[in-house]
Symmetry: C2
Subunit: 226 residues, 2 copies
DNA sequence: TACGATCAAATTATCGATTTTTTTTGACCG
DNA sequence: CGGTCAAAAAAAATCGATAATTTGATCGTA
């Protein structure tokens, strides 16, 4: 069963959904800086909605650990720190290893096809639209894990992905993501997964994370983040 | 540093906080049944607040996986199933093992004292107030893990604890929790933790979970849940 | 100068009313 | 009968206004 690569449009869904998507992107991409106070009134202007949808969107973002809620004192974006990054990296390695192995253990044709497709879409988008590449990149990584019949685990992985990618955006130009041939790494992971080789897939995936992680951790230690 | 065992009072905090605590307890204890529709208006009467705090509380509960939000169609409590329970149990074993080992690895006097204290409070409450025992029980289990300097991991564990305990409440009288001497098991875990024996502590903790888990899983398979 | 109290401005939290969306009902037609 | 459609009812989402709370500035006092 082929599915549309449904990246939601900016006007889909309720006002809350829209606010949620926009705010999340703004936080993940660093448009809203770590620790920044999120004043409802200010955001109302930028997002062109009332206070209620914004409040609700911020509540939802709280659960993603992207926003912190301080009772009676409003909302602010989550702080960043070297420890926090380290924690995210470690947890990701543990949980994605778990999920990937289960996913491969239950491998079937449908999953494999979805995976190949996700990879193709990501590869194709690489040269083109910079913004959607990141979305497709996430879809590829989640497609790897998708066959693990463990919704809670997948949700955790998805959250950790977003928390991690935020650091990559914050590193911005400092992180020469293109220098390393990430494309090859993705290809290697895909190949191992399709070959049902859980050990190879897992070690390649984890190396993929640790490589970027080590670089980012270095930046963080030296406080070179914007 | 001794801390008060601060179980929040029913009138502490904002209306949202109150609604959040009350609703969570109602869901965890099964007063609100799995899959039940949560109509804002209906809850307004029961909780004696406006719609806004309730909406916001429900949004927060969504992130705890206790409430499901369906866009434009309101909220309902999370469904239960044998798979879901199985998933929770497995994830709990993995994550608490991780957290407990890190907690013990970094063991210090302050942590040890907090732990002993949490155990004592739980043990003392056992005969008395049934309602607060569960709260203290959770505090003890979280105290075991608390020394792992990994807030995200601890948050995951806390969430999974609540999801799990919900099943125990739903099993209600069917689960003869008192039959097994849980008190001994807690004592054993505490002793191993205080002795800094990570292997023993972890295996005792996981057995503690698996024991209850196996029984509950049996009930679920046979659909004997209320 | 440092400290604490007090008041005004800013901001958040909450409420009640309105708008939008979904669900239900019941009449009508094949 | 069974299914479709439209109107009515119910419920959710959103808005604008009000109440409660925090923050920041000012002033008097030791």
């Amino acid at each position: 069963m082929l599915m549309a690569n449904d990246l939601p449009d900016a006007r889909d869904g309720s006002a809350t959904q829209r606010a949620y998507r926009v705010l999340r992107k703004m936080i993940v991409t660093g448009e809203l800086k770590p620790g920044e106070k999120l004043k409802i009134d200010g955001l109302r202007g930028r997002l062109d909605t009332g206070a209620s949808p914004i409040r609700e969107a911020l509540s939802l973002l709280t659960s993603d650990n992207l926003v912190e809620r301080i009772d009676q004192r409003g909302f602010r974006t989550a702080e960043i720190s070297a420890q926090n990054f380290d924690e995210i990296l470690k947890l990701r390695c543990t949980l994605e290893d778990l999920a990937l192995r289960e996913s491969i253990a239950k491998a079937d044709d449908a999953w494999e096809e979805q995976l190949v497709l996700a990879h193709h879409r990501m590869a194709r988008a690489k040269d083109g639209n910079e913004a959607t590449f990141e979305d497709l990149h996430k879809l590829f990584h989640m497609a790897l894990l998708a066959n693990a019949s463990s919704p809670i685990l997948l949700k955790f992985c998805s959250q950790l992905y977003d928390l991690n990618i935020r650091y990559r955006f914050l590193a911005g130009r400092a992180l020469n993501y293109q220098r390393r041939d990430v494309s090859d790494e993705h290809g290697g992971i895909l190949a191992a997964a399709v070959a049902r080789d859980a050990d190879a897939a897992s070690s390649r995936l984890l190396d993929h994370y640790k490589m970027t992680g080590a670089f980012l951790a270095g930046l963080l230690e030296r406080n070179e983040l914007s």
